[in-house]
Point group: C2
Chain length 478, copies 2
């Protein structure tokens, strides 16, 4: 979508609102506060874009130092203008842990074992009230600080309700909501209490438009709104693109070259199946290993000739589900190595060290990249791999990842629940002739490079410019 703001070089003021910000604060040796660039997928993708347009970024304080910095107002550091918002820590934990991560994340990724979870008890109702309070605090900060006529880009499922208060108190603003995860279908949304579902969808719908990474999630959101609200807000699809400039630069570094050499030693001429993921229930790490097990069992010719490197790093370990899943991943890798290893060949290398440079080196080198989530908003690794790889590597991609919309035409299709089918895809990829790999990889890179990071921002600015003002879209009650 082309930028349709009246004068492309005269952007309106932009305010980006997200749970996690681009800076974290710590103390230097003299006890003073210093800002350093923070991590996280959203920040690393949006950061460079936001920096270029001089947006103000409003995000939650995560630590005591963050909270101290928050008291000092907007911080100008590392190219960002950041307003860190101090939210009551107890409310924040309830909103973040109980509602955002343990409910909405599970719901939209379809991860609930529904005969047992969730249990929406009195504590959960309190957590929902805290979620509302935290969203209100973010809205308050925007209401107090945004310049007249600013475009407000509200990010993700942590902040679904912000638009509610903006529409009421600052009708001059144009707020757009963007969801970086999937969105579930109506039968699953019915897990939420009716009032909560109405508040959630009503909150999202009070923005000028609601964006998603894939058509499927936008359609599901629209179907949920139609069933629960009785009307459908404006939706749009704007997949994000990885900021590979920084990664390409890193790829030239001495450290990356050393990691690449270590990897070659490890492989010793063998083919490389790679995955790079958080240890996350939706990433489907277990079935990936089971498919590799099936490959070695049913196609003995690959024994000793391929290494599965799983760069998977711990995540959300405050939730018991994630600790249990990590343990299952580690046990299964050990079990399969015990089953198949021979002197000089370890079939699975499980690397939980979260070494970013090492993962870049591996993405450049893979023969097969396995991206098999049970559901995924987009999956940036698939696109990063397609762009970074220098080995005509093959992508085996889950059809349940949002990135399937863009890359499905050239990747090998994986049904993430189908262990036998995943094994077949790995086998096809490993056996692919060099000429076919070259064609596959070129087409894949072209598809992955079709959008650049700035497109995501431009799509939203365009929508903010053309969307009808808040409150004007909702049809009158029948």
């Amino acid at each position: 979508m082309a930028l349709s703001w009246p004068m492309a070089d005269a952007l309106p003021p932009v305010v980006l609102v997200s749970n996690r910000g681009p800076l974290t604060f710590s103390r230097d040796d003299d006890g003073g506060l210093v800002a350093i660039r923070g991590g996280g997928g959203l920040v690393s993708s949006l950061g460079p874009v936001v920096r270029k347009v001089g947006a103000t970024w409003i995000a939650a304080a995560m630590t005591d130092e963050d909270r101290e910095a928050a008291a000092g107002g907007v911080v100008d550091a590392e190219g960002f203008k950041v307003h860190t918002l101090a939210v009551d820590p107890h409310s924040y934990r309830m909103a973040y842990d109980v509602v955002s991560n343990a409910t909405l994340w599970f719901l939209h990724h379809g991860l609930f074992d529904l005969s047992r979870r969730p249990r929406l008890d009195r504590r959960w109702a309190e957590a929902w009230a805290a979620y509302r309070d935290v969203n209100h605090a973010f809205a308050r900060a925007v209401i107090d600080q945004a310049e007249e006529g600013a475009v407000v880009l509200v990010q993700d499922y942590h902040l679904a309700l912000v638009g509610t208060w903006l529409a009421q108190e600052r009708p001059d603003l144009r707020a757009v909501h963007f969801t970086h995860i999937p969105f579930c279908q109506p039968d699953l949304l019915r897990v939420l209490p009716t009032g909560v579902a109405e508040e959630l969808l009503g909150g999202m719908s009070s923005h000028a438009a609601c964006g998603f990474h894939a058509e499927r999630w936008a359609d599901n959101f629209a179907a949920c709104c139609s069933e629960v609200l009785g009307w459908v807000p404006t939706t749009f699809v704007a997949p994000i693109a990885p900021d590979v400039a920084g990664m390409e630069e890193l790829a030239q570094s001495d450290e990356c070259v050393r990691e690449a050499e270590k990897l070659e030693q490890l492989l010793d001429g063998r083919q490389l199946i790679l995955r790079v993921d958080r240890i996350e229930l939706s990433k489907n790490i277990l079935r990936g290993f089971l498919a590799f097990d099936d490959l070695l069992r049913t196609r003995p010719e690959w024994r000793g000739r391929v290494v599965f490197v799983a760069m998977v790093y711990p995540s959300r370990e405050s939730l018991p589900e994630y600790l249990a899943y990590r343990q299952e991943v580690e046990v299964l890798a050990r079990l399969l190595n015990g089953q198949w290893a021979t002197p000089g060949w370890q079939p699975i290398v499980l690397d939980t060290s979260d070494n970013f440079v090492r993962s870049v080196a591996a993405l450049m080198r893979y023969d097969v990249l396995l991206v098999n989530p049970v559901r995924d908003g987009l999956n940036l690794v698939a696109k990063e791999g397609a762009i970074l790889n220098r080995n005509d590597g093959v992508l085996a991609l889950s059809r349940e990842a949002g990135a399937w919309d863009e890359l499905g035409g050239t990747a090998l299709e994986v049904n993430p629940f189908d262990v036998a089918g995943t094994s077949d895809a790995l086998s096809t990829a490993l056996a692919m002739a060099p000429a076919e790999r070259a064609i596959h990889a070129a087409a894949l890179r072209k598809a992955a490079e079709a959008r650049v990071p700035r497109d995501w921002l431009d799509d939203q600015l365009a929508l903010a410019a053309t969307a009808p003002p808040p409150g004007s879209r909702r049809p009158p009650p029948a």
Copy 2:
């Protein structure tokens, strides 16, 4: 729907096809085979209706004695003409255990813990082939035996593919498929391998029409067909009605009177919250107890004044998920009794004895009937309770049960995932004034009696009479 067969008293021949039949065979003292009436929800509801129209019933042999009887051809006993079909036992177990119960049941009820289950491996692919074989064997029996122009009523998810071969080899027959469980939305159907989903939906769609107990399930099936097949077959909604005549008769029996007296002694003037269910993951027994726990915690006035009788009987214990669930149910009941019991008052009475007479006595007596499944095709207990109850009892009904379509206007709404909300519904029900209870119970009974068992059969005969012949409905490929 009125019966629109040209001459209502000149029915066409009817063949009913189901996994479980109305007869089971055993040996008498002389070693001869004797037929006795079998159990199961489907058989007890459809049996009386089918008997009256003189239908032939084709069902699988479950035991060695059944298989022996199968060799003898059609058996005429207990008012049924039954053809017992001997299927290869290994194929039958694979089809029944792995595909029907451990995959399709879980899928349509939304019970999969998707980060771990299902694992569609090579064994699963073999089980799917066995499922196809078993369906083919049923189709073969129909093809060989059905009279010219017969109406064939194919029952449930075990036998989704039967119509495939009927349409090819016996275009004179009118086959209708009926699903007694829910049907999932397209995102969940994507769990199945693409070829399997196509075969499953294509098989169901090769019947003249596909029926369900509720509008939601028919809509979901249509949405799946639209996405996977690109066209939508004829669907219809025909909720079954309980055969209460037999239960009303039983209610007069001495045994039932004795059970009623024992129940009154147990209650000793207290109110009765009742549930009657298989121990089944979809029935949501755990959250029912947790809601009762919340009730006692937040509304101390009910302590000592109400007993929760859970008549829940073991089921499918060949699947480890069911054994685990039963254990959780028993542990939680014990835990909560340990928490709340006082001398002379046991808050939860867990009765796993599967005593049908006792459950009839309890259904006549309840103050509150809790029916809170996470998802249920219909739920006959809700309708049976509404009709049998003589105590102006209140129904607290899950909005995820198919019966919600018929009873939702008069029952108290339960979101099965909302423990706090379920507790609120129990509290409302227990505190309801006698006059309000009487109005509620009368309206509920009226809604539950709106359909009689024969309606279900007539709906299908009408559809079979008016549906276009097989093969004529499918649009030509674009």
